[in-house]
């Protein structure tokens, strides 16, 4: 194994550059190093101005998603040696505006997440003194997978629909909406359905499944969207056949 690898990194500063360019850095190629370690090596030893987000370095905070050789990856969980002999190209996540170097603007996701009401909605609430709402392990299992989303946004970078239609709510927000819909403690499905059955909601998804492919936490947003479409269609049929049962 060579002891160095070339890292090609997007550099962009809005004050200085008209458009992004690639800079190449030689970094040590070490067995236990992930791509994020190489970026930190550059920042610490070579050029302190290289900017990127990171935090936990254990694949759970969701900060360090970037394109690695064209694929969306958590850079803290992507080993350099998998790309030997190189070069390894590191670029900002696709489908988001670039703010600086490897940092993208993600406030669009936050707005979309808020819009799907990702919280428990109930018509009535029993007091805390009466203890927990019972939920069997089987009931927990129906939504658990969708609750594993770390908001890393790799799925948005992979989603061809979001790339073309920025109004599309996107895989993570839809999976999280479904996470609450499937939760036995929640009574908010109708409210969320109103929001999601609009054109920029679930109908935008063409079931390409790229989101599920790239998800580092096996959330399966594509599956969530399919489930959602089924429910929405059933609800729509019901409202056509039995309009008096509607909301």
């Amino acid at each position: 194994m060579a002891d160095k690898i070339a890292l090609e990194v997007t550099r962009f500063s809005p004050e200085r550059d008209k458009e992004p360019r690639l800079a190449t850095y030689e970094v040590p190629l070490r067995k236990e190093w992930v791509v994020l370690d190489a970026l930190n090596y550059v920042k610490d030893k070579v050029d302190g101005s290289l900017s990127f987000r990171w935090s936990c370095r254990m694949g759970v905070c969701g900060s360090c998603g970037m394109m690695v050789n064209g694929e969306p990856k958590l850079t803290c969980a992507t080993f350099l040696t998998d790309y030997a002999p190189g070069p390894v190209r590191v670029e900002p996540l696709k489908n988001f505006p670039v703010m600086r170097d490897l940092i993208v603007e993600i406030s669009d996701f936050l707005a979309k997440l808020t819009k799907v009401k990702p919280w428990i909605i109930r018509k009535d609430e029993k007091p805390l003194s009466e203890g927990e709402y019972l939920q069997t392990p089987e009931q927990l299992d129906t939504y658990k997978q969708f609750s594993m989303c770390i908001n890393c946004l790799l799925c948005y970078a992979a989603c061809p629909v979001y790339g073309l239609d920025p109004l599309f709510s996107g895989p993570a927000a839809l999976a999280l909406a479904q996470r609450y819909n499937m939760d036995s403690r929640d009574q908010g499905t109708d409210e969320r359905m109103d929001i999601l059955s609009q054109h920029d909601g679930i109908w935008g998804c063409t079931f390409v499944g790229e989101c599920t492919e790239v998800c580092p936490k096996h959330v399966d947003p594509a599956g969530a969207i399919q489930q959602y479409k089924l429910t929405a269609t059933k609800e729509w049929m019901k409202s056509m056949l039995m309009p008096w049962k509607g909301k």
Binding site: E32, S49, S55, C56, G59, V60, W119, I120, L140
Partner: protein, 581 residues
């Protein structure tokens, strides 16, 4: 140019404690505006990495007194017992509130909340969401917080200074990272929920963002830090990365083995080995004692060498694939991904790793600091319930109980205050000048930020590790003074205002240097051994002199001054810590 905005209650930090506090304010008085100022998007906060669980007595065979006793004895009698009593009482209701908000707690087959055993706890009382409890708690809190209109988020704003006028904290100065704009955000009350500062050490489970920001902000503003010498080493970190293997791995039945495959904890007054876990015994002893046992094993030559220091092994093989997948899926995922080994069939190499700060900003049981208008909660604060050694699964509950309490008391205080004064603007302008002169427009520096940081981490490990001595601490104190001076000569390449992470890295290093100094000074002055503070030159606990909290304040010239305040004892007089009996 300075931007100015204002709010009623301002949170610095959007992790578990910050979000719980924000919700508490919004629920108490919907007319109050709440600002959450965080240097990362809240769901990136380090609460996300917590694995094992959150303690709260709910089983019929358990009691609040037993939870209190475990916590107090675990803390080697340095916990304030009035705070512990409040904590254990409010713990179950806070955890239940999180259940209402959707936290996916593990359940019994009949649908009731499931609990698991944990280190140093005599009863099973740790609520858990597999081994991603912190992740689920944080996302539940964050998603729930989105429904409160009164909460305004300042995502990716980096706080640099507390604004103080008339003896009262009235806001912060923060940099909007996206634009580099320096902003004054005035407030009637400020709550610091910025977490701990494991990054002061070279080998830590802590995320990159944990730099003691809030501790340093409070310290610079004149508020005392408390019990800073008590630094928790978690006994099971993966070598090189420092990734945590949760204590739940042991509470589910994992064994700690030395290089001979021997369950060495039996040699350290922690009980006799049994095939299945015994509460408050062996692998379920407290973290300080387990980490100290590792050092002793190393000294006896019974650890295994690895490229990243000596290791012992955690053995989960006898638990079987099914149990590991059901109860410890993240442990398996982390081992496969980062160590390329499968705990179902292989031993996990582990070594003690810096994990948690028992100390922090001195607060009362309502989260109030001695500085008017300033509150703190979570790991950034020291109430103190954790004393000289925190028990696993008490900190996630702590951030709920004391996050809520700090929110409520800050809201009550804010309601009584008039709008902040105009004087603050000149202070904010001074801060803008400081940031520009010392960092953004600085030229001619020669020291690399990363070099100073690495030297600081090295001297902290050498001087203030699992075992310390007067000599090792003095050496670190001298070294830190040199590093403070060298910091004035740092080099900054980045001239951009947009997302200048070299600037934030420099500011974080300055915070860490403050916090490191406070730790060393507290450790130097405490000439006894208690909990996580083990002095080789003073190996015994000394209740006569040190049944007391260290309080460190910054004096006029910048030097730290250490004083003491008594520990509150209510019903549990100091006694010997007994495990394995």
């Amino acid at each position: 140019m300075l931007d100015i905005s204002s709010t009623d209650v301002l949170l610095v930090g959007g992790g578990g404690a910050g979000l719980r506090a924000a919700i508490a304010v919004a629920e108490m008085n919907p007319n109050l505006n709440v600002a959450v100022v965080s240097k990362v998007y809240p769901m990136r906060s380090h609460t996300v990495s917590a694995e094992g669980g959150a303690a709260g007595a709910i089983r019929p065979d358990d009691s609040l007194d037993e939870h209190a006793y475990d916590t107090i004895s675990g803390g080697d009698w340095l916990s304030d017992q009035n705070a512990v009593e409040v904590f254990v009482k409010e713990a179950p209701e806070e955890l239940l509130r999180l259940e209402r908000w959707g936290c996916p707690w593990n359940r019994e087959p009949d649908g009731h909340i499931a609990v698991r055993p944990f280190g140093g706890m005599k009863k099973e009382r740790t609520w858990f969401a597999a081994d991603k409890t912190g992740f689920h708690m944080l996302h539940t809190l964050f998603q729930t917080s989105l429904k409160y209109k009164a909460v305004t988020r300042y995502d990716e704003y980096f706080a640099t200074k507390l604004l103080i006028d008339d003896g009262r904290v009235q806001g912060v100065v923060a940099i909007e990272l996206a634009s580099g704009k320096i902003q004054a955000i005035t407030a009637k009350a400020v709550i610091l929920c910025t977490g701990g500062c494991g990054r002061v050490f070279p080998f830590t489970t802590n995320a990159a963002i944990k730099n003691g920001d809030g501790m340093s902000l409070a310290y610079r503003a004149g508020a005392p830090l408390k019990d800073m010498e008590f630094i928790q080493y978690h006994p099971t970190g993966l070598p090189f990365t420092g990734i945590l293997i949760t204590e739940a791995a042991r509470s589910e039945g994992g064994y700690m083995l030395n290089k001979d495959g021997y369950r060495y904890l039996q040699d350290y007054n922690l009980g006799k080995p049994q095939p299945t876990p015994v509460l408050r015994s062996m692998e379920l002893g407290p973290r300080d004692r387990l980490s100290q046992a590792f050092v002793k094993e190393f000294e006896k030559g019974r650890t295994t060498d690895s490229p990243y220091g000596a290791v012992v092994h955690l053995d989960l093989r006898h638990l079987g694939e099914k149990k590991i997948n059901a109860k410890l899926p993240f442990v398996r995922e982390l081992c496969l991904k980062y160590e390329n080994l499968d705990p179902v069939t292989e031993l996990i190499p582990v070594r003690p790793v810096v994990h948690y700060m028992m100390g922090g900003i001195h607060t009362d049981i309502n989260g109030a600091t001695p500085l008017k208008g300033l509150y703190a909660a979570g790991e950034a604060a020291c109430v103190s319930i954790n004393g000289a050694n925190r028990l696993g699964s008490n900190s996630l509950t702590e951030l709920l109980v004391f996050g809520a309490r700090a929110g409520v008391s800050a809201a009550a205080f804010a309601q009584e205050q008039i709008a902040p004064s105009r004087h603050l603007l000149s202070q904010a302008a001074d801060e803008e000048t400081r940031l520009e002169d010392q960092f953004l427009n600085k030229t001619g520096g020669t020291e690399r930020i990363s070099t100073i940081r690495e030297e600081m981490q090295k001297t902290m490990e050498a001087g203030a590790g699992i075992y310390r001595s007067g000599a090792s601490l003095q050496e670190s104190a001298d070294k830190l003074r040199q590093l403070q001076e060298r910091f004035m000569n740092i080099n900054i390449d980045d001239r951009s205002r947009t997302f200048n992470t070299e600037l934030t890295t420099a500011l974080e290093l300055a915070y860490m240097l403050d916090v490191a100094e406070s730790m060393i000074q507290c450790a130097l002055h405490r000439t006894e051994s208690r909990g996580a503070h083990q002095r080789t030159d003073f190996p015994a606990r000394d209740d006569q002199k040190f049944l007391a909290h260290s309080l460190v304040t910054r004096t006029e010239g910048g030097a730290p001054r250490v004083s003491y305040s008594p520990v509150t004892i209510t019903r549990w007089p100091p006694a010997e810590r007994v495990y394995g009996k």
